[in-house]
């Protein structure tokens, strides 16, 4: 069976199309893993041959067109988790009206029928709102630019409900056909979950097994997904609080309340500081944004922890898509010998969380990834618009380790050792030997 994987250059975000072709069906079986872009992703560089996000989606929709009837068809859309940089593409609702989608797979925490999941998502969303507004208000009050806070505002925004995109995926009328089947994985009582032939016959070729390795339903692991409340920031949230998919107007953001009447405010001269003393005091106070910043990181981590982690076994080839799973999920996989055994011999690895520090254990690179040109690691990143950017996404030492082990494809790199990055297309093709039981 032929396997083609295309990594679309969407900027900072994920969008992967897996096509499986065999004699059983004329058109290839298509699985789409995510389609999103971070708000703070660097603007498209047209001169370097990059396309706008919309143009990329158009191209994707063209790529999946069935020559027989000219209709774009995707067998399975996998939306790994609710972050904007993974699903924002689905909020462009008009585009998806042209696509036939047979199934949508989402992590179980998005199941609207599950009261626990609903509460969890609501809590995450509440924190996203609170921290977004807290940071925006504190930044507005402080006025000076603080690139770390700017970035955190985008990370918080990335974590909001993304309601429009979720509606496309879940409402039943987001695509050309009505009511595609939506699966929330893994199902309760099915851990570890395995989807085999009989269950997948209409969407994937015979012999393909999908292993669902996350998100866990284990209470101890779920606890990590449950972020703090950030209740102290509630008063900073304006009445019109929904962030949804529209960039909020910063003018509507409430200023933090004053602790005292302005009559108590005095000129710094009253303190009789020595030369330069007040400047250094005032500089200290980036503190003002420190806590919501940390809450944002935890929220980001919590939502990454909801990632649907799939290992697609196609004959002798293993395609591993862990979404943005970070340390908690990885630790669970690492501690389970059966799971680790499954991951051993991974052919294609979609590098977790754009190559950040705790989304790919060294042990995985060393023990599991297939060496040399038999395998490939795919990293979808782009610079961000914040001063200095994120120097460690992707983490240079991780990229080096991956390079030592296997072939690496990156949508972007600032490493001078990496010769001219071919922006598009990134396609990895291989042939799987079928017939494994």
């Amino acid at each position: 069976m032929k396997i083609d994987i295309r990594m679309y250059n969407v900027g900072f975000g994920d969008c992967f199309l897996v096509s499986l072709s065999d004699a059983s069906r004329k058109r290839p079986y298509r699985m789409l893993f995510d389609c999103g872009r971070l708000a703070g992703s660097r603007q498209t560089d047209a001169a370097a041959g990059e396309k706008s996000f919309e143009a990329v989606i158009d191209e994707l929709i063209t790529d999946v067109r069935d020559p027989a009837d000219g209709v774009s068809k995707i067998d399975v859309i996998v939306a790994t988790h609710r972050h904007r940089d993974h699903i924002h593409g689905f909020s462009l609702q008009e585009k998806w009206k042209a696509v036939e989608v047979t199934e949508v797979w989402l992590p179980w925490v998005e199941d609207p029928q599950n009261p626990f999941a609903r509460a969890l998502v609501a809590k995450q969303e509440l924190l996203a709102n609170r921290t977004f507004h807290a940071l925006t208000a504190l930044r507005a009050a402080g006025k000076e630019s603080n690139s770390q806070a700017d970035a955190a505002i985008d990370i918080a925004y990335n974590s909001t409900s993304n309601a429009k995109a979720m509606a496309t995926l879940q409402s039943g009328n987001g695509f050309k056909n009505a009511n595609p089947r939506v699966r929330y994985l893994p199902r309760a009582g099915h851990e570890p979950e395995q989807l085999r032939n009989e269950e997948l016959a209409h969407v994937l070729p015979k012999g393909v097994i999908v292993h669902v390795l996350g998100p866990s339903r284990d209470p101890a692991t779920i606890k990590l997904l449950d972020p703090p409340s950030g209740a102290a920031y509630e008063p900073l949230v304006p009445a019109m609080r929904s962030l949804d998919d529209t960039t909020p107007d910063t003018a509507e953001v409430g200023a933090p309340p004053r602790p005292f009447d302005v009559a108590w405010v005095v000129d710094s001269a009253v303190y009789g500081f020595a030369e330069g003393e007040n400047a250094s005091i005032e500089k200290l106070m980036t503190t003002a944004t420190l806590e919501p910043l940390e809450l944002v990181y935890r929220l980001d981590n919590a939502i990454n922890g909801t990632s649907l982690v799939l290992l697609v076994e196609v004959g002798d080839k293993k395609l591993f898509f862990p979404g943005d799973a970070q340390w908690g999920t990885w630790k669970m996989m690492q501690d389970n010998p059966a799971t680790w055994d499954l991951l051993t011999g991974t052919t294609v690895y979609k590098v977790g969380h754009h190559g950040s520090h705790n989304a790919t254990p060294r042990k995985f690179v060393e023990d599991c990834l297939l060496p040399d040109t038999n395998g490939v690691a795919l990293i979808s990143v782009a610079p961000t618009s914040y001063g200095g950017g994120w120097k460690n996404i992707p983490l240079p030492t991780l990229v080096d380790a991956l390079r030592k082990k296997t072939k690496v494809e990156q949508t972007w790199s600032d490493d001078p050792k990496v010769a001219a990055v071919p922006y598009d297309p990134h396609v990895f093709s291989t042939t799987a030997k079928m017939g494994r039981p």
């Binding site: 106070m285 003002a288 940390e294 705790n358």
Partner: protein, 648 residues
């Protein structure tokens, strides 16, 4: 006093005597400087009082802090400066002038939530009072050395948090508006000030003072280090509260003197458990037996710190019972069972006195234990051993205190893993095992040493706590140009201590190839069993091991070190070590060094923690310098973490 009697002035017998001549004018008698300044504070957090239940105003107290006559508005003193800069609104609030006559005459401003100047007064009062208590307990003066000031920002930022920032040597207090829906005992939408909470102030100040005594405790090289910082700070906050009679007396009256079953006092103690988790920390008395497995199982600093709090608090309860049972028997005609109804105020006052004295004894013991703590990588076991060591030295004949401490710790799973038994002699630190002589102690320094022990004298000498290493030795670091004679003497001494440490690296479980640094040295005075005072010298040696940096992109340098305690005869009495594996295993050595397995274990554990600490930091990738803060304790995060977790 109500029962004091007054006497009517007796009519004087008028005698006709000649009026004496007016003496020649002379200079007036100067007023004697007061040594203390009284200041009013809120005794309990005004935000956390259960108003419905108590129906009372927030308890207030007056504390007495060292009098600084040149205190500037702020207040800004010689070591503590309060600067009311609001980082959110980018403005300064009007500073209080504690030397203004209108303020002086009424013991400072009366407690109020609405005047920022009272907030400034309260943080200053609590910090200065605690600092003085620290100095009294450790028996010497404590300044901040190069950092000079502890700067306090009572309204630094918007948020439900407060923390100590070692970088800037400052305490940052947040303010926030109570949730409009879930306000608990607060008025919905009310502004809440963390700087008005006595226990939050004490807790954060304790972090700062512990950091002054042991700067390397900021590196969480084992799970106990951060937990020690948290647990210790909570213990100090609890015992500081027991010193406030305004709180203790009514609480004891309400609970009929029984601490262990007293809802009010345990409730209070819980409320003080600011960081180790109000509800969780002090439950043992009512929840049956403590669980010794909890200590090994909890890695999270607050949970683990709560184990330390409970261990010490259990010792407190048991000692309180021992020391008050005679009073209870007296008051109950020998039955030990008190009659129904309110206790006699005299009994309450005696019980409060016992509780206070005991709290003070514990506070002193916990503080003095620092002289025997290693310079880094502290464990609860080290702390226990140090407390027992100092108690054995201070009170060799009465063992009730150390027995209660050992038992309190044992019940919570903390005991020395290497000691043969739980007898005080084997729990206490042992001697160095061999005679180490030649410790440089100059009798010529004695005057300065004695001066440095004077905690009250504002001009008193602070022991040299500046680092002294190879750089200073080789004079590549120039001494300060305005150095006075006595400072010069201390530097000479530091140089000799450096040489002594270098020569004895092997005895101190340090690497013989790597330079050491004298991280600090100070005299400490104690009374011998025969009642005579004696002076010991405490030196901390630290060794940075660049050669052990793991190949990753981390800027983390493992450190080894030891605390050496010598007496004034130059005899080394204790060497408390935290070894790291030597650079090369000395093959020539006939017998392998006994401490190497322990050193290897330490290093492996540290490296393991290092990689886990980074993996579990959700923000590592987004930070300006990823990885640089690995294992470094960040109180801002630690506390916010906790507060959020406990509001379930």
């Amino acid at each position: 006093m109500s029962n004091s009697y007054s006497t009517e002035p007796v009519e004087a017998v008028v005698q006709q005597t000649p009026i004496p001549p007016i003496p020649a004018p002379r200079s007036l008698h100067p007023y004697r400087r007061p040594s203390r300044r009284p200041l009013q504070i809120f005794a309990l957090d005004p935000m956390r009082i259960d108003r419905g239940k108590s129906g009372r105003v927030t308890p207030r107290a007056t504390v007495y802090v060292p009098f600084e006559d040149d205190l500037k508005p702020g207040p800004r003193g010689r070591r503590i400066q309060v600067i009311d800069y609001d980082g959110v609104h980018r403005c300064y609030y009007e500073p209080i002038d504690l030397n203004h006559a209108d303020v002086l005459i009424r013991d400072g401003l009366a407690p109020t939530e609405t005047d920022p100047r009272f907030h400034q007064q309260m943080v200053y009062a609590v910090v200065a009072g605690l600092w003085a208590d620290f100095e009294t307990a450790i028996g010497r003066r404590l300044t901040l050395g190069r950092k000079k000031f502890l700067t306090i920002f009572p309204h630094a930022f918007y948020g439900e948090n407060a923390f100590y920032d070692p970088e800037s040597s400052s305490l940052m207090f947040g303010y926030f508006r109570a949730d409009s829906t879930e306000a608990g005992t607060n008025i919905p939408g009310q502004m809440v000030f963390t700087c008005l909470s006595h226990d939050i102030i004490v807790h954060e100040t304790t972090h700062a003072l512990v950091d002054r005594l042991r700067p390397d405790f900021m590196i969480a090289s084992n799970p106990d280090v951060a937990a020690f910082h948290e647990g210790f700070a909570d213990l100090i906050a609890i015992f500081q509260h027991f010193k406030l009679q305004e709180v203790l007396v009514p609480a004891l009256a309400d609970s009929r003197g029984d601490f262990a079953r007293s809802e009010v006092l345990l409730g209070l103690a819980r409320q003080f458990g600011y960081s180790t988790g109000g509800k969780a920390a002090l439950r043992s008395a009512e929840d049956g037996d403590p669980d010794p497995a909890k200590y090994r199982a909890s890695e999270e600093p607050h949970e683990r710190g709560a184990v330390l709090v409970r261990a010490v608090f259990d010792a407190f309860l048991s000692l309180y019972q021992q020391r008050t049972q005679d009073l209870i028997r007296l008051a109950s005609e020998g039955t030990g069972v008190l009659r129904e109804g309110a206790l006699h105020p005299d009994l309450v006052s005696r019980l409060a006195k016992e509780a206070s004295a005991l709290a003070n004894q514990l506070f002193t013991a916990l503080m003095r234990a620092f002289d025997y703590l290693p310079p880094l990588d502290v464990t609860f076991e080290d702390f226990l051993r140090s407390i027992v060591t100092i108690d054995l030295l201070l009170s060799p004949s009465d063992d009730s205190f150390r027995v209660a401490i050992i038992e309190g710790f044992r019940k919570h799973g903390i005991y020395p893993t290497t000691a043969g038994s739980l007898g005080a002699d084997s729990v206490a630190w042992g001697g160095p095992g061999k005679e180490i002589s030649g410790f440089p102690f100059h009798r010529g320094l004695l005057t300065d040493v004695i001066k440095s022990l004077d905690a009250i004298d504002p001009e008193g000498y602070d022991a040299v706590e500046h680092m002294y290493g190879a750089a200073e030795k080789s004079a590549s670091v120039a001494p300060p140009p305005d150095e006075d004679d006595s400072s010069k003497q201390w530097r000479t001494w530091a140089a000799e201590l450096f040489d002594f440490g270098m020569a004895h690296r092997k005895d101190f479980s340090l690497d013989e190839e790597v330079d050491i640094v004298v991280e600090g040295m100070h005299p400490t005075m104690r009374y011998r069993a025969n009642g005579r005072p004696t002076i010991d010298i405490v030196v901390r040696y630290v060794q940075s091991r660049d050669d052990l940096v793991s190949g990753d992109d981390l800027k983390f340098v493992p450190k080894g070190g030891c605390t050496v305690v010598a007496d004034s005869n130059g005899v080394v009495r204790y060497v408390i070590t935290k070894p790291l594996p030597p650079r090369e295993t000395p093959a020539a050595e006939a017998t392998p060094l006994a401490w190497v397995p322990e050193a290897t274990r330490r290093l492996t554990d540290m490296q393991d923690r290092l990689s886990r600490s980074r993996s579990s930091d959700p923000g590592d990738s987004y930070r300006a310098e990823p990885g640089s803060q690995a294992l470094r304790i960040n109180f801002a995060l630690l506390h916010s973490d906790h507060d959020e977790g406990s509001d379930e």
